[in-house]
C-alpha cells in the first residue's frame, strides 16, 4: 500500500505505540482487500459490548489507553452491554458490570464519546453524502451508506478504534465507486406497511443477496419510507445478508434511476408475498405463551417510543410476560419529557438506556429470567437470538403489546 509521509511516521512509531498498532492493523486488513492507499475519515463509531470484548478485549483497550492512545477524530460508541443503572434486575451480575466499568473508563481515557447508540444517524450527527467514515454496527453502516450516501465498510470494534487513532482507514470496499454499483436487482410487488414488515422485506433481500460484496437495488417502493422504516429494513438486510449497502430507485441518493447504479442491465428477481411469508414462517408461534417481549435492534427512536407509549396506554402486561425496551440516552431524555417512559412503565415495561438486548449477555439474562419464548417486531433480533437459546417469534408492534397483555402470542 502507498503510504503518505505522516502514515509512514505512524508506522515507524513516531506517534506512539498505540497509533503504531492501529496503522499496522489497518495495513494487514487493507492488504487482504487489495487497498492501494488510505482514506481520511471524518468520524468513527465503535461496537464493543463486554460480552464480545471479554477480559481480553477490555485488557487490550486498557493497554492502548495506558500507552497514551488518543482519538484524533470524533469517535462514538454503539450500545453498551450493561445499563449500569439497571443490571441486577435483569439478571446481570457484578462481574459483568465491572467489566463494563473498566472498558468505559479506558474509552474515556482515549477520548471516545460514550454515546452508546446504534441510531447515531437519527440522534447524533448523520454523515453527509460522500462522507468517508469508519462505522461499526451493521445497521449504522447500511443506513449511512444507503440513505445518507456516506462511505463506510463494516468496521469491527478493533478497526473502528484503529480509525479513531489514525483518522483514516484503508481505501477498499465501499470507499470505492466500483463496489457501490448494484449487483442484484429486486422488484417488490407490495410496499410494506409497518416496521416489522419493512424488516421482513429487508431480511428477505439480505438472505437472497447473501454476501457482503453484493449490492441490491430495489424497485417498486411506491413512496419515500420513513427513517424508522428504512432503519428496520436496512438492519434486517445487514443481519441476514451481511449486506452493507442497498439502493432504492428514486429514493436513495445514489440511485435516481436504475442506470445510475447499473441496475438496468441486471435481471430482475421478484419479491412477492410468498417470499416474505417464507422468511416469517419459522417465527410464527401464535397461541404460545410468551416469556418476554423485546423492542430493540435497533434502539427505538423518539417516534417509535411515542408509538409504543400510545399502545401501552391504559393497559397492563401479563404477570407472566416481561417487556424490555431499549433506547439511547439521547432519546430517553426526550421520551421522559414527553411522558412516554412513564406510559411504558405503567404498562409494566422496563426501558433500558444505552444498551441493546442482544448485546447484553443475552444467553445469561435469558437463563436468569427463564426467558425462552421471545417476541419482537425486529426481524434482526429474531435472527440473532436463536443461537443464544431463545425461541424467537415475530409480530407487529401492536401485536407484541397485545401479546404481552394476554401472556400469549396473538398473531
Amino acid at each position: 500500500m502507498k503510504l503518505r509521509d505522516d502514515e509512514k511516521a505512524m508506522l515507524s512509531g513516531e506517534a506512539g505505540p498505540a497509533v503504531k498498532w492501529a496503522i499496522e492493523h489497518q495495513l494487514q486488513v487493507g492488504r487482504m482487500f487489495d487497498a492501494e492507499d488510505m482514506v481520511q475519515v471524518s468520524q468513527a463509531h465503535m461496537m464493543a459490548d463486554p460480552e464480545s470484548l471479554g477480559e481480553a478485549g477490555v485488557n487490550f483497550t486498557k493497554k492502548l489507553a495506558a500507552d497514551g492512545a488518543k482519538v484524533c477524530i470524533p469517535m462514538i460508541t454503539d450500545p453498551r452491554g450493561v445499563d449500569l443503572s439497571c443490571y441486577a434486575p435483569i439478571g446481570q451480575n457484578e462481574d459483568m458490570a465491572n467489566l463494563e466499568r473498566r472498558f468505559v473508563a479506558a474509552c474515556q481515557e482515549i477520548g471516545i464519546m460514550m454515546t452508546n447508540t446504534c441510531i447515531n444517524y437519527q440522534t447524533i450527527m448523520p454523515p453527509v453524502f460522500g462522507d468517508h467514515v469508519a462505522y461499526g454496527d451493521t445497521g449504522v453502516v447500511i443506513y449511512s451508506n444507503s440513505v445518507c450516501g456516506a462511505r463506510s465498510n463494516f468496521e469491527g470494534g478493533p478497526s473502528a478504534l484503529a480509525a479513531g487513532l489514525t483518522g483514516r482507514t484503508p481505501r477498499y470496499g465501499l470507499h470505492l465507486d466500483v463496489h457501490r454499483q448494484a449487483s442484484r436487482r429486486y422488484r417488490v410487488t407490495k410496499t410494506p406497511q409497518d416496521l416489522m414488515e419493512w424488516g421482513v422485506l429487508g431480511a428477505t433481500i439480505g438472505r437472497m443477496a447473501g454476501s457482503y460484496w453484493e449490492v441490491p437495488v430495489i424497485e417498486g417502493i411506491e413512496a419515500a419510507p420513513t427513517s424508522d422504516q428504512l432503519k428496520h429494513f436496512g438492519a434486517a438486510m445487514a443481519s441476514y445478508g451481511s449486506t452493507p449497502l442497498f439502493h432504492i430507485v428514486g429514493i436513495t441518493p445514489e440511485c435516481r434511476v436504475l442506470a445510475d447504479v447499473g441496475g438496468d442491465i441486471l435481471s430482475v428477481t421478484e419479491i412477492d408475498d410468498n417470499a416474505t411469508a417464507t422468511l416469517k414462517q419459522p417465527f410464527n408461534a401464535k397461541g404460545e405463551a410468551v416469556d418476554v417481549v423485546v423492542f430493540a435492534a435497533p434502539q427505538l427512536s423518539l417516534v417509535e417510543m411515542g408509538q409504543l407509549a400510545s399502545l401501552c396506554g391504559g393497559r397492563q402486561r401479563s404477570e407472566t410476560t416481561d417487556v424490555i425496551v431499549c433506547t439511547s440516552s439521547q432519546v430517553y431524555s426526550d421520551a421522559t419529557a414527553m411522558g412516554y417512559i412513564s406510559a411504558i412503565e405503567a404498562f409494566g415495561g422496563k426501558v433500558l438506556v444505552g444498551t441493546c438486548f442482544y448485546q447484553q449477555y443475552a444467553r445469561e439474562i435469558g437463563e436468569a429470567n427463564g426467558w425462552v419464548r421471545l417476541l419482537s417486531n425486529s426481524a434482526k433480533i429474531v435472527n440473532i437470538l436463536g443461537g443464544y437459546g431463545y425461541q424467537p417469534a415475530l409480530a407487529s408492534m401492536e401485536a407484541c403489546i397485545a401479546s404481552a397483555e394476554k401472556g400469549e402470542i396473538v398473531q
Binding site: 461496537m47 451493521t138 468496521e155 470494534g157 451481511s242 436463536g386 443461537g387 443464544y388
Partner: protein, 136 residues
C-alpha cells in the same frame, strides 16, 4: 499425495490442522456457544460440533460486527478454531483475524472451497502465500 489450493493472500500465521467443512455461513455471535466451543445455532449445518482447534471451511460471513472482537476473545482463552477458510470473507472477519493473529484466507482459484475440502482432511494453511495444502 498432496493437493495444493491457491487463494488470495490472507492474514495470520501458517498453521496445520483438521478441516471441519460446511456449505454454510459464519458469525461468532449468531452461531456459536463460545464458552463451550460449539456451534449452538440449531439451523447451522455444524450445529452441536466443536470448533476448537479445527480449521473451519465455510462459505462466507454473515451478520454483524461482533465477530471482530469475539475472535480475539476466543483465541485468548484458546477455545478457537486454528484457521478459517472462506469462499469470501467479509471485512469483519478479516479485521478480527488481524487482531487475533488467526489464520484466514479466501477467494480460492479452483472454485467452491467447501467442495474442494472435506471434513477430516489434514490441511496446511499458509496465508502469506495464499496457499492451502491438503496433506492427507
Amino acid at each position: 499425495m498432496t493437493t495444493e489450493l491457491r487463494c488470495h493472500v490472507g492474514i495470520g500465521p501458517t498453521v496445520e490442522g483438521i478441516a471441519l467443512v460446511a456449505d454454510d455461513n459464519f458469525s461468532a455471535r449468531y452461531d456459536l456457544d463460545r464458552l463451550k466451543g460449539v456451534f449452538s445455532r440449531p439451523q447451522h449445518k455444524l450445529y452441536g460440533q466443536s470448533y476448537q482447534d479445527m480449521i473451519l471451511v465455510l462459505n462466507t460471513a454473515k451478520g454483524g460486527v461482533a465477530t471482530a472482537w469475539m475472535l480475539y476473545e476466543m483465541t485468548s482463552r484458546q477455545i478457537a478454531p486454528k484457521a478459517i477458510l472462506f469462499n469470501q470473507a467479509n471485512t469483519i472477519l478479516a479485521q478480527g483475524a488481524a487482531l487475533a493473529n488467526l489464520a484466514m484466507v479466501d477467494r480460492f482459484a479452483d472454485g467452491d472451497v467447501t467442495q474442494l475440502i472435506t471434513t477430516g482432511d489434514h490441511l496446511r494453511v499458509i496465508p502469506a502465500k495464499g496457499q492451502v495444502i491438503i496433506t492427507g
